[in-house]
Amino acid sequence: MGLVQKIVTWSRIKSPWIIHFNTGACNACDIEIIAALTPRYDLERFGVQLKGTPRHADVLVCSGPVTRQIKSRLRRIYDQMPEPKFVVAVGTCACTGGVFDGCYSVESGIDKVIPVSAYIPGCPASPKAIIDGVVKLLTSLEDKEDKKK
């Protein structure tokens, strides 16, 4: 069983498919996420692919503070993803709510609604920071497997 688990963990690290969801961002973080997917940074060399549907995705990349209107939809998209799934919060607003925290229409950071695995601060977070964050999330996956033993 150990070998099979190892192969599965390896494949999970080598093939993270992402889905991008704007939870109320000002669009700056979205542009940086799209920039990270362009040929200049070429995320496909790490196996990252952008998918259109939550059913195919492993990593939910969220940007922006959670507004009250989007809260239930974020929850729904998270529930539609098959296990194992991870959430990455991109940008300061997604991490804590940022300057919008406490605003009447804003709920606060992503982690108040769904569990978050990696936080990437920045306003906006640069493509390099996003790639670094995703790579750190994946390496932490490997460490978790080691700790289990």
Partner: protein, 312 residues
Amino acid sequence: MLSIFYILIFPGFLFLSAFGLAAQFVDRKLCARLQNRVGPPWFQPLADFIKLSAKEDIIPEEANPSMFKLMPVLAITAAITAIFYIPLWSVNPIYAFSGDLIVVLYLLTIPTLTFFLGGWYSTSLYSRIGAVRALTQLFAYEVPLLMSILAPALLADTWSLKEMSLFYSAHPFFWLFNILGFAISMIALLGKLEKVPFDIPEAETEIVGGTFTEYSGRLLALFRLGIDIEQIVGAALLAAVYLPFGLGLGPVAGFLLFVLKVLTIVCMLSILRTIFARLRIDQMISFCWKCLAPLAFIQLFIDLVLKGFIVR
């Protein structure tokens, strides 16, 4: 015992899966290089497959569970069955009878039908739109594909792939007259495999994931593997019909030549998918009926004239 070996190992499931995944890598790497990127590492398709197999299977509440689970298996089965009737490295396919050309074309239609049924029984709106588009597209590319593949068969005066390869081995360089048909079936194959200029059924930017919107985990992995296998089988069919040379080289050299032929076709498909952008469904259909079908008629005409004046 031998049939089980054929079905499960070579040239059946195991060989085709490995070759399909390798071809997917070639396709993605070439596409990446053409876009000035580094591209995925060699194990990427395998990692994708293992990861998807180890993920949770979600079957929507509204969906019909048995149909939903059956469709990916059916797609793979049909694609694998077709390879047994295609001559690979010698003139002899594993099984042959007169009229197997039609059977191969029919078996290669089944994956598209499973995409339709799988999408339809998902009962999600996006998958239904994708499913209907897949079927609409089928009617557009299937006729030019069938006509352009029947033209070489007409020249050889047979409906059997074995007899066809025998004829083209006896008449070398006759395949040069079928170059037009080769180009047409290449474009039609792009539609069959739902690759970029014709990836209308799974257009991610319009209808989320198209036919496969609701598929996840193991079933999606099987569907993706089915498309990879279909690509290999389609390329092998085109190689057998349009590039029927070097069939008497013996097992090893012949096998290498077969792999080379298939990879050439895969590379050409991948170049085509990189340099074009997605068409709309109406543009695709008018292109197939107004350009591809008349060209296929010209190919038929060329072969009829050849048959009348040269072959007799």
